[in-house]
Structure formats: C-alpha cells, structure tokens
Symmetry: D3
Subunit: 250 residues, 6 copies
C-alpha cells in the first residue's frame, strides 16, 4: 500500500487515509462444532462466519453430481447502536437481510466448482455480532475462509472424489464511497451514513469483479467518480486477499 | 458505438443488433382511479405502474415538512413461462421481490425533492403482467412517468406549495450483459439466462448514474468489460429518456 | 333484450336501464405464455384471467385418472379507488379474497368432467387490474373462456385421451341487486355500495343455476324480491353466454 | 308441506322425514364469564356460542355513536371424524373458516340497530365442539340467543341509553339440500356429502331472507328445485324461531 | 383426606381448607368421533381432552417399531374473564400455549411404552372451554384418562400387537402455591394471581414425580417452603389418582 | 457434599467430579454499543448477553412510575452440533425458544425493584454462540451481570431517581441431573442427553429459589432424589454467585 497520507485525506474519523482499510483480523476455528468457522473483524465490525457441511444436496439437485453452496446473513439485535427487533420475533425476514444473504451466496458461489465439490452442501451462516459499517463485505471476506476450511474438512474425509479443486480461487469484498466529494475505502458506519455514493465491490483473488453495486445516496455520480471508486476497491481487495491468504497459512 | 447492424452482432434472437433496445412503448392513464398510471412495454415485458397519492406522510416523518415516495414490485403468477406461486398465498415476500422493490424505490427517489413535494406520499406499484427479461428496468422507466403524472395531479389541486419542482429530473433504467463474450443491450429472458455477466444500470436524464449493479453469473469480468457494458447502458438510457419525454409530451 | 327503458328505470348512474349489462368485452390471448388467457371487461371492471396447464395432478389425486381445476383471485393494490395494501406484504390472504377464489373454483368446476380431462391440472388466475363492481362475476365469465382455450391447447397436444369433452357446458356469472326498491342487473361499484340486497348468480349456458348467493345488506328481502332478482340474473346470464360464445368463435 | 312421514321420504339415515329438523336444543349460560353464552345442538352438531361485551368500539368507529357486532367461527381439531390440524399451529386461517365467520357476522348484524346499541362492541365466538353437518346454521341460531343475553346484560347495567331496542328482531338459519333428487331439511354430515345441491338460508323471525347461499355440488339446479328448497328452509326457520323464543322464555 | 378445617385455613375464597382439591369430575366419551374423550372439571375450570388415534407414525420415526404420543393445548377465546384474541387469527401461537402443550406431552409420555404401543400415533388435544386456574393440571389429569380410552380402542381392534401394556402407569397433576405465607392446594384463578410462589407438580399413580415446576412470583422461596408445597402436591395427586381410577371403572 | 473426586464420581466425560461446575468465565463489555454486555462461558457453552436500555416503558405501563425488564433467548444456527434452521427464516419462534426466553425474564425480574428502576426499559438479549448444555442457565447467570452494568449506566446518567437500588440482589442458575443413578452438577450436552432426570434451578445470591424446573426424562424420580439434586444446585449457585461478584469487582 503505497499512497502516503496527505493532509487532506488524513481527515477521516479514525485517522486513516482515504485508501486504507481498517485493521482486519481473521480468526479461524472460532467454533468447536462447525466444519469451518471464522470470526472476521473490519475495525469494530465483527461477523461470525460458520460453514456447515451436509452430505447430499437439496431434492431438486439430487443425482446431478453437483454440489450446492448457500449463505444466510443476520444481525444480532444489539449489534447496532440502537437495538433492533428480532426478525424471528417479527416472523419475517426484512428486505435488507434477504438482499445481503443473496449477495453473499452469489459472491462465494463465483469460486465454487460444483462438479468438483460433488453432491455435498455447504451452508455459510454470517451472523453480525457487532456492526460498524461494511458488515456484508466483512461477511463475504470471512465466509470465503470458512468455506476453505469446510472444503478441507471434506477432503480429509475423502468426500471430494475428483482431482479438481472445489474452489477455483478466492473471493473478498470491500466497500468504497464518496464523502464530501472524496472517494474513500472501507467505510465505517459514521462515514457510511454521510456518503453521497456507496459501492460494494466483490473481487476474486486475481483481481476480477464478481459483483459491483454502486448506489447514489445523494447526488448521482459520473463515469469518472465510478472509476476512482473502482480503483480504490481494487486496491482494498488486493490487500484483503493477502490477509485471507495469510490467515489460511499460504 | 454506432447502431448499424454488423454481421456478427446481428446474431440476436430477435434480430436486433447488440446496441438496440427492444420496441419500448409507454401508455399513460391506463387506469381510471390512479393519480398516475402507465403500462410500459419493453418488447414482450409488460409492467403496469400505478402511482397512488395520499395526503400526509408516515408517522415517523410527520411534521418534517418532507414528502415520501416508495415503491412495490410484484409479478402476476402467470407473468412467467411457468406459473409461479403467489407470494400472498405463501404468506411471504421472496428475496428477489424485496430486492427489486427496494431498487425501484431508490431509483425514483434519486430525482425527488422531498421538501418541494411537501407532506404528501406517493406509492408506486409496479406489477409485472408479463415477463420477458428486464422487468425491473421497465418498471423504473415506467414508474418515473407515472410519478410525473401523480405530481401533476398534486400540482393541479394546489397541493404543491413551494415554487420548486418536486422532481429534479428524470430517471430510467436498462439492463446490459455479456453473452458469448459480447456486450449486449436490453436483454430478453432467453438472453438473460445465457448471460455471463448481467448488469442493471439506472441513469438520470442528464446521463449520470443512480445505480450500477453488475453481477458475474459465469466467469468474473474485468475492468474493460465493465467499461463496454457501461457504454451500452448509457446509450440505452439516452434513448429511454427520449421515449419518456415523448410520452410526457415534452 | 326486450325491456325498453322506461322513465323510472332510466335513472341509473350510467344511463343504463335496470335490465342492461354494462358493455362487456372479452379479449382472448392477452398473454403470450399462458395456455389460455382472457382480459374480460364489464364496463370499467377489468380482470385478467390466465389458465395455466400442468401435466399431472396434486399428490392426493395421483393415479385416480381424474384431473383438477382450481382458481385464485386477487386484486392489484390500485385496482380500487383508494389503494389497498398488498396481501403478500401483509403476509395473509383476507377473507374476501379466499371466499371469491373458492367461488370461482366451484363455478368453473361445475362444467368440468374430471375423467375426460384426465390427470391434468388447470389453475385459473383471476387478477383484477381495475375494479368497478362485479369483479367476481367478470372473473367467472372470463375464466370459463380461458379454460376453454387451455382445454383446446391440451387437445391439440393430444393430452386429452378420451372421446368425451372435458367441459360439459359453459358457465358465466352476473350480479343483481335491489337499489331504492328496484331490482337492477350488473351493478357498478357506486350502485353496489347503495344496494339493499346484493346477489351473485352463476349460471350454466343452458340456464341452470350453479350458485346463488344473495345477501341483505340493508332490510331483509322477501320471496317476491328474490324472484325478481333471479329473473334479471337469468336474463343477464343468457346475454353473457352469447358474448362468450361469440368470443370463442361459435 | 305436511310433516307426516311418507314411505319415500322416510328413507333418511336417522329416520327423519324430509321436512324435519334434527332435535335442536339451546342451553343458555353454559359459561360463567361470558355476558351471553349458549350451547346449541342440532342433532350431534354441538356449537358453543359466547358473546363478549366490551365498552367502546374499534378505532375507526369511535365518536360515531354506533355500536359494533362481529363474529368468529372455529372448529376444535377433533370436532370432525378425522382430526384436522389447528389453524393456530398452521399460522393461517383457512378460507372456509373465514367465509363462515363472515357469514355469521352478516347474519346477526341484520337484526342489530347500531344506533340503539350505542358505542358498545359485542364479539360472538362460535366454536364447534362437535361437527355433524350444519355447523354454520347452528352457530347462527345459537349466536342470536347469546347476543340477546349480552344485550340484556348491557341493559341491566344501564349501558343501553336510548329507548330503542338494539335488536330489531330475531335471526336463525338452516341448511337444505337435494339428495337423490329429493329436497331435504337440515342435513347431517352424511347427507351433506351426498347432496347434489346444498343451500344455507338465514331468515329473520318474521320470515324474510337475510342470506341465501345455494351451491350445486353435482348437477346444476333449476328454478323449480330452488323453489322447493326455499319452501323447506322457510319451514325449518319458522320452527327454529319457536325454539329460540322458547329458550329465551318468550 | 383427613386434615379437618381449622379456623385459619378455612379462609379460602370458596371455603375450602388449604389441603383440599376443588370438586373434580371426569366425564368420559364426551365426544362421538374421538377414540378417547374426556370433559374434566376442576371446580369451574373445564377442559375438553380428545385423544385421536392414527395408524402409523411421523416420517422420522417410521420403521422404528415405536409409537408416538403428542399433545396440543389451547384456550377458547372466552374461556377467560376477559376475551382474548384467537391465536389462529393472530397467526402465531403464544409462548404460554407452546409451553403448556410441551408440558402435557412430556407428562403423558412419562407413562407410555412406545414399543408396546407399536407404530401408532395418539394426539391429545386439550381445549380449555372455561378457565379458573389450574388449566394445565386439569388437562394432564384428563388427558391421561382419554389416552387410556384410546389405547383400549386400539387394543379392541387388535392394533396392540405385543403382550406388554402401552401405558406403564397413570399420571395426574395439580397446582400448589403459597398465599399470604400459607401453602395451598389446587389454586383457583383468584388465588393464583395472589400467590407468592406457584408450583405445578405432575405425579405418577405410584407417587413419583414426573415434573416439578416452581416459580417465585413474589419473594423467592426457601427449602422448607418447597418441602411443604411438595407435601401438599403429593396429597392432591393421590386423590386425583383415585378419581381417575374411579372414572376408569377400576 | 465434599468436592474431592472419588473413584466412582470421577467417571464424568471431562474428568470433573459430580459436584463440580465446568470452568466458568464472565467477560464484561464484550460489545461496544450495548449499555451492558457479557460473554459468559460454562465450558464450551458460550452465550452473549446484551442489555439494552431505553427510556420509557411499553404503552400499557406508561405513567405507572414502574420500569420494565424483559429477555429474549436465541441460538445461532450453528451453535449446535448439527446446523438448525433459523427461526427468522421459518417465520416462527419455536416452543423451546419461547419457553427459555420466558424463564430468563422471570429469573432476572425476581431481583428487580420496578419502582426503584423508574420508567426505564431494559431488554436482555441472550444469544447462544455455541451450545454444549446449560445454555439457559449460563444465559441467566450472564444476563444478571449485564443487567447490573446497564443499571450502573443508568445511574451514571442520573436516570435512577430514587434512593433505592433497582436490583435487590443477584441471581444465577445451574442445571443438575441424574445420570446412571447419580446426581451431577452442571451437565454438558453429552450428559444432558443421557440424564434420567434433568433440573434447572435459579437461585438468588442469598440462596433462595426463584425457579425449580425438574423433569423426568426417563424414570420418574422420588423425593430423596429431588433432595439430592437441590443440594447440588444450591452448591453450584453459591459458586456461581462468587464468580459473578468477582466479575463485577465486588
């Protein structure tokens, strides 16, 4: 990470420069029962990612020889500044929860070779224990590592039959945004609410895009701003890939 | 990007070139009761957009002097090739429905000046009567026109107090995707299921981005491919803006 | 239709005489995907009826050699004068919706020969696009025509094995009511809310009753009034049968 | 219609003639807490009707000076021959339950003078303890008696302000049907499932109709058959009115 | 029951001494369809217990050779002093209902030998018709008797294959509590709301404990108070066992 | 009861003697946003307890001058050996969850003086991150500590008006059970599933009972066994009280 802090971009709430991630930590095997589990932290954002393996696949996929990977995202009621009601008590999953669960699922599936996985199912539960912005990007970044551990667990048990790797690469994600006209990397909650444009970018370890979701919260953005945001996101994802690899002992 | 058909991009299912929209029609006042209503068609995709005005705003916004605009998206059970179960019968709204409702809401709100609207609420119901790809982009494109009519209805009744326009511009949306390695504009259903990358782009009438949502369905995409898709989307949105203006008699 | 308008019964809101239907139109093949589809209009009431065919029958009926026909009724939120909340969002189907879905199902099943239909299922979706009274009777009248088209579709594909017709006749429905002491045919919304007695009558093409549902909204009614209402309903159903036959090219 | 048994109509399962009710009993004050309560029995059909009074009316009716009466119908899981699942456990009220609750509500409201009742609410809970056909008609017949007791309770407490009676008459109901081509009164379950046509008729004590719901379960019915059924229903309701009056000590 | 009333413990609302049950009656065969049915009354508390037999067991138990017994508890809306909303209408079962259903299930299962029962399922529906305290203990006491009748029904049909009895003993339950510092047996509603400590005790016919659930509603209780409550509960259960046996003609 | 391991009670899975707790740790302030938060561990059981303070009380309690304390319990899907479905996805809270939430609420409310608390509400969220038996007892033990911190937070802000302490004492809980005929303290999951009798006991810091819930999972238990279990539970609660006090720096 080369861009040295300049006076103006040093103005971030926590002293970071515009192009810096918050401290990221990935703790593997945080749970005793799950086949893969990771506590991932992006600053104060803390997400518990658990990978659960079950033999076999959902009924509609039986006999296809293909595996299945899916994800569910949720927040504990007091993950946030103010307590929010439990979705289980309300009896409904909110739109935001649905949307993020789907995003995480698509993101990790981008690196899954279903044929190599064989008829095994892996569910990735991403539960936000504490939220301070970027919960979905932290979840994707952690879920990939938990997924790797679950695949290793399967391999050790001889449940991966073929010679191909079930995972074709790595995947991670980061948020970027424009605040007071300046593009910034990895927004914390306070920055997120002030951002004029907010973008979540999911990248593979070799720097390609899996998902780009940019939204103008305030004024619409132009092609040049979009370019700056993508630059920052690519930078952040390169660093996250290194952190993932280190956590996996590569 | 010129629109003359070349041998290679003439290969689309319906004979269109890669950079052409399907025939788009916007029929205003399709309903008798709604304050604004539009039947919008993108080829065989047919969405009924109804704008409902109510005086006042939700409780949490009362006394703020600000208006409120929201959207709901749904599909009739036989809009699709195979009948799908009703969400009302299942007792739950699916993740996809939630996600698209939220997208439409964000898209139209990008051109709303809540202060100028005053304490009025407009609900935009986008019901897909027939689906052939691009239902969410057709919905956004039609919802904006219905919204204009609802605002005119308010203005005629003297319910817009200030001198500012409640709508600061226009908004439309189009899908783009990469099929067999080629970027294409406004995918129909058959193209959509084959697309390696699929992107929905929401633009304002002056060519800025409100929302960019690109997803790799197959192989991840690189920066150059992203650029080509954005070029096509900008082209499509310029044309949709003209069609909207014409429908509104501008 | 012989009864000439007299000064007193000319007093209806839209100038009709007491014994006249509103203009009724039946547009077949309104949808591209459905095996049968009809847009039926009774004045400003507009209902989209889609017939969806699936091979096979529900589990409890398998191996019986008998087919199955069912119906679902719903209203778009802005079909009505004031917007109503979506039942999918509320997470529950209301009593009225349930009741009308059941009524339509019973009505069309009255002319179905399950044995002749064989193990095929037809679902009739009746979605009210615009409501101005008589939505359930319009739905039944249109659903029958969509059902005929779906049966033809099956026959063309050789899926009707036996020599018997799956439909033993036709079915249609009309509302009648007593307003200011006078019996009237085919009430529009404004009349419906003022009616002292309101009756929905479902008839077969040969003039027999499938369903008679009369309700005193104001004062109870006597046997003579019931008789007058049935007279009017029989008259209206005769005319609707002609319109259905014409739409079907008979 | 004379009630002497003739050879042919003596053929009913329980030895009744076609024009006879099953033994009907009405037990008042079956519950200690409810303001009115009745255990009503039509043969083996047993329905507990409880009238609950609350001061005041629902929000949408406040300040109108008008009262409110509503009804809810339900069945215990083992009221029927085979156990049915609880609607509370399923989390949804079925269409049949909804429909009957609405019918009972309309039936009793036909004799309520809301203005005379004043701003009081009465809820009529009709819970079927045992079902043997005719549960909805037994419920209406019993609910009226419970309602009378609830009104008396209000009057005793001085809560009926005006000089008018809150109930303008009595109401009862009976089922009739055509079995093997013969019209019969008050069908038990075994008859009900065999009926070609099934009709529920709600009458006031002075012999007028509140509701007539006839359905062809098998072949459609003609005007003459409809007439015979109404004759029988009027006969049955006259008798039920006597039984109600006797139970009320009139 | 020997303890003669003394001046101080004569102070109970209904004149009972502290160690006396309310009048308990058990009426068998209260329903015509159910394989076992009991109306059980503890004073004014009245619970209808129906045992429904079905051949076979839930899917997860098939082929095990073991039977299954489960219970559901519910209250009619006007069982209580004030009407409560129906759980079916609310669309959810409340925590209290769930908890009591589970308690009744555990209680009766304590005397079931699943192997002797064979692959048969018995569902015990306990519906409170009137509530005056102790509904769960009355339900358990009645459910056991209904269960005995259902087992006899199975035996008569030859559906009990082995030589072992499916029921290994009897089970009953009673509530005890501390009111104004004094332990009392079988609390009615008015006592229940005043109790400092409230305990429900389920015993087998030979005097052992199946379940002990004591809760301090006011001040916590000590070991000595717990002992006194258990003494009273054992006394009450001995008497209930006698009443059950008498009802069963033993 | 001495705690030295004897040959026979040394047989526990993890080497503990029958009368020993698992290692218990209480980590305060585990979350940044909550007014009180505790990660409590009983061996491998790990529960996150968050206390959320809001000014004011629910509507039905307004103006009473009294506060309100409530609790919600839930499990992450992969807290257990096998993944369980999310209750939010199922749309319903299960009976067990309801029951434990209610138990925790009653337990902590036993030491709350609502008048001293004033019109403030405290919600205690107990989310099981990992389950290995005793989750409800760990939750109660941790929730009390989080509650103390929330009350301190209120006091520091001057929101506790009176001179009385809102908490009148401490509360903790432990499970006991009979395994292979021997009473044991603080069962882990593997022991729990083998227990013939299982009991959860909630005590105050001064050794009184708030709740005693004993269930015979296998053979019913007698008075002497009940006594032994209570002895063990009292011992365990004394130790837990010391651990709570130490965590709170007393």
């Amino acid at each position: 990470m080369t861009s040295s802090p300049t006076p103006e971009n040093a103005a971030r709430i926590d002293g970071r420069t515009a192009d810096r991630l918050r401290p990221v930590t990935i703790t593997r095997n945080w749970l005793d029962h799950a086949e893969g589990s990771v506590l991932v932290e992006f600053g104060r954002t803390r997400v518990l990612c658990a990978a659960s393996v079950t033999e076999g696949v959902p009924r509609w996929r039986k006999g296809s020889g293909l595996g299945w990977v899916t994800a569910e995202y949720a927040m504990l009621p007091r993950a946030t500044h103010d307590r929010s009601d439990r979705e289980s008590v309300k009896g409904r999953i909110g739109g935001r929860t649905h949307e993020i669960s789907r995003l995480i699922g698509r993101a990790v599936r981008a690196v899954v070779d279903y044929k190599a996985l064989g008829e095994n199912t892996i569910v990735l539960d991403c539960d936000v224990l504490q939220a301070d912005g970027g919960t979905r990007t932290a979840a994707i970044t952690g879920a990939y590592v938990a997924l790797e551990d679950a695949v290793s667990w399967l391999r050790e048990r001889g449940a991966i039959k073929g010679k191909h790797e079930p995972l074709t690469g790595s995947v991670c994600a980061v948020s970027v945004g424009i605040i007071d006209g300046k593009p910034m990397l990895d927004l914390c909650y306070e920055e997120d609410v002030r951002a004029e444009t907010d973008m979540n970018v999911v990248c593979t370890g070799d720097g390609k895009f899996v998902e780009v979701q940019g939204t103008a919260e305030g004024a619409p953005f132009d092609r040049a701003e979009l370019g700056s945001l993508l630059d920052l996101a690519e930078l952040g994802c390169r660093e996250l890939t290194l952190i993932q690899n280190k956590a996996l002992g590569r």
